[in-house]
Amino acid sequence: MPLTGRNLTCTRGDTTVFTGLDFDIAPGDIVVVRGANGSGKSSLLRLAAGYLAPTEGELRRDGVPIADDPERHRTSLHYVGHLDALKPALSVAENLAFWSRVLAPKTPASSRLDHDRTLDRMGLSGLADVPTRYLSAGQRRRLALARLIVCSRPLWLLDEPTASLDDAGTETLLGLISDHRSNGGMVLAAVHGSIAVDDAVTIRLGECRMDGMS
């Protein structure tokens, strides 16, 4: 299930965000994307998710260009961006149940117990029936990250996943990432601060951008 990008160029409007970017993610790998604001971290993640098509270059999943089989690619990845995709009027449990049924309709009906365990794991126990509008930013982020474990998908694309998380929340996230990797999962994460993960490969954006502009 590896994901490879070759000679990727991304343009937004008239601006070239980055050019000639190569990367490889194999099962068990984590690739961390770093760079200043506006260096194209989010664009790279949206590119990898298939929301955005590269201007040049190619993304391959398992050797198959994702443009040839977009369905298989998009149903085997999780994207957690800046927006939490939660409905304020629905309760925590309803939001979680909705996404687990929509993203993984084929898995046998996730029992209430499973969702409870997920909420426990994310430090949201006791909040199942609370409308999401009453959650803090950090709690909303935890609930967004809970999508990663209610529905199992091999590739995680995380755009600044630690934003608004407290120390315990970051710790939980690192636990999820290491479990995911030990099960052969892949992670591509854009981060700003430090993130304590073992043997991460780092992509630095910004330098590529200078090449592209010269």
Partner: protein, 221 residues
């Protein structure tokens, strides 16, 4: 299929729980129609003559009211990104959202329309035609309106632009919707008009979700 129904159920639930959409649309529809007897005067002959047009124009405007948020809420809170990762094609996601929009706004309009027919003194046969025309026409409004909603999804206060885009596309529904009721009111056979309405719906059913999905994909970038 379960995914499709999940999306429909969530949207309908949100429409009722947030308490706004359905009530707003129905109250607007009733008020807009009820203003006509006050403005035009209570003469039965005049009211009966203008009733089909008045009801349909009010229904078009009422349907417009809730359209601008159809995809915009999901776009702004990131739900659209997630829906694009579901095993369901985006075309069917679009169809599910249009169906939910019709259930929460179009269907209440159909249900309330006979009451407005009474208010405007429609006769017996015209009532049946009104109900049938509304039942066939309002789903087309939700589908065609969805195209405009998807095109203006990233525009803040896109409501006015949305009206300019969508209202011209509503003209066929307006013409054949009023035609069916007019014909029945005059004791003629209105079946042809209803069949054209049904044909419009049959054409919109595959084409609108396809166009909506295309517009939404552009906005996922």
């Amino acid at each position: 299929m379960t995914t499709f129904l999940q999306i429909v159920a969530r949207d309908v639930r949100l429409a009722f729980r947030q308490g706004g959409a359905t009530m707003l649309v129905v109250v607007f529809f009733v008020l807009a129609v009820a203003l006509f007897p006050l403005g035009v005067g209570p003469e039965t002959a005049v009211l009966r003559r203008i009733a089909p047009g008045v009801i349909w124009v009010a229904a078009l405007l009422a349907a417009m009211l809730s359209l601008d948020r159809l995809f915009q809420v999901d776009f702004e809170d990131g739900s659209l990104d997630q829906l694009a990762l579901a095993p369901l094609p985006l075309e069917l996601v679009a169809a599910a959202k249009c169906l939910a929009h019709w259930l929460s706004t179009g269907l209440p309009l159909v249900v309330i329309s006979p009451l407005l027919g009474v208010l405007l003194e429609l006769n017996g046969e015209a009532h049946a035609a009104l109900l049938l025309a509304m039942a066939a026409g309002t789903p087309a409004l939700s589908l065609v309106g969805g195209i405009g909603a998807a095109l203006t999804v990233s525009i803040r206060r896109g409501g006015v632009l949305l009206s300019l885009l969508v209202l011209p596309l509503y003209i066929p529904v307006l013409i054949f919707g009023t035609g069916a009721i007019d014909a029945a009111a005059m004791g003629l056979e209105g079946g042809a008009h209803l069949l054209v309405l049904a044909a419009l719906l049959a054409a919109a059913l595959p084409l609108a979700p396809w166009a909506i999905a295309g517009a939404l994909r552009l906005n996922l970038e």
